[in-house]
């Protein structure tokens, strides 16, 4: 998604955590700035374990001795933006209550490209029974 100039279509059926899964892009009310909405991706649902890396932008978890692992509490989700270096998300303000989630992003509309459907990017695991 571009940083501005594009609109997203949000389905409100998925509000408050209904039917949401890891990998979904969701729109939510900002927990700190009132009146603002934000769009980020869910990386952890309640009960999942997430690894929070060292300093911001320092790469994969555990580097620099600051890495730790948290379990997402009941009724919350862990959201992270795709642009890891610049995204202000759960790595800064912690788990997001699902009550703030207003819906799931179905796709993006822009003047240039028209309608673009956004999928979660996760594929079903393929189990190959023939390989040992």
């Amino acid at each position: 998604m571009a940083s501005y100039g594009e609109s997203v279509v949000v389905s409100k059926w998925f509000r408050r955590g209904r039917g949401l899964r890891v990998g979904d892009l969701v729109s939510f009310k900002h927990p700190i700035n009132m009146g603002e909405n934000a769009v980020k991706r869910i990386l952890g649902m309640p009960g999942d374990f997430v690894a929070v890396g060292g300093a911001r932008g320092a790469g994969q978890g555990g580097e620099g001795g600051g890495g730790r692992m948290l379990q997402v509490p009941a009724g919350h989700c862990w959201i992270v933006g795709d642009n890891l270096t610049w995204s202000r998300d759960s790595r800064i303000y912690g788990a997001l209550p699902l009550g703030l989630v207003t819906g799931k992003v179905l796709g993006v509309v822009s003047w240039k490209d028209g309608w673009r459907r956004l999928d979660s990017g996760l594929q079903e695991a393929v189990v190959d029974d023939e390989v040992d």
Binding site: K29, P31, I32, N33, H76, P97, L100
Partner: protein, 197 residues
């Protein structure tokens, strides 16, 4: 009866119902909502007879900008942080920037594993920017900020205006006389540097 007449009547009824239902849904979500208070966390201010006779109070909530001019002592409604399908109705005790000194009496009513969680606060909590500390009036049976900490202001979706049922107390706000026993040191909230535009 002529079939054309019946068809037209049905069409008019359908149009009117759809219009009315849409307006009602819009009003319910964005203007005012009437909810019933079940549970004893807000006794004696709300639903005082819930345990004995099962009668519940009904209150009307204001849904437009519920946190505009919010004051300590207001009753607010929000989806519960641990279970977003349930709506919790509690009283605002601390605004952002306040230091809340946790009420020891509430700890004694909790089961041991919750007491350990309560102890991690160290007896007080500074409410962060953009958050509120909410508590139920009933000190021994309330799931509130003592359990899950301060809640974001954006989570609040309604502020109570008055009672609508029982009819004898229509329009009253019986919760305004309540003085919470939780001590609060008032403070000013500072927007953290990262969020300043």
């Amino acid at each position: 009866m002529s079939p054309i007449l019946t068809g037209r009547v049905l069409y008019q009824c359908a149009k009117a119902s759809i219009f009315t239902i849409s307006v009602a849904i819009f009003a319910n979500d964005n203007l005012f909502e009437i909810v019933s208070i079940s549970g004893k966390s807000m006794t004696p201010a709300l639903s005082p007879d819930h345990n004995t006779s099962g009668t519940r109070d009904w209150i009307v909530l204001r849904k437009m900008q519920p946190t505009n001019n919010i004051k300590r002592g207001d009753i607010v409604s929000y989806p519960s942080p641990h279970n977003p399908d349930k709506i919790a109705v509690k009283r605002v005790i601390g605004l952002d920037g306040d230091t809340v000194l946790l009420d020891q009496r509430r700890r004694s009513a909790m089961p041991p594993e919750k007491q350990r969680g309560w102890d991690t606060w160290g007896g007080k909590c500074v409410v962060p920017y953009g958050h509120l500390w909410v508590e139920g009036d009933h000190w021994s049976g309330s799931l509130d900020s003592n359990h899950y900490g301060p809640i974001p202001k954006s989570l609040i979706d309604g502020r109570a205006l008055g009672l609508v049922w029982p009819w004898s107390r229509f329009g009253q706000t019986p919760w305004t006389q309540y003085r919470s026993k939780t001590r609060v040191i008032e403070g000013i909230a500072v927007c953290p540097k990262e969020w300043e535009l």
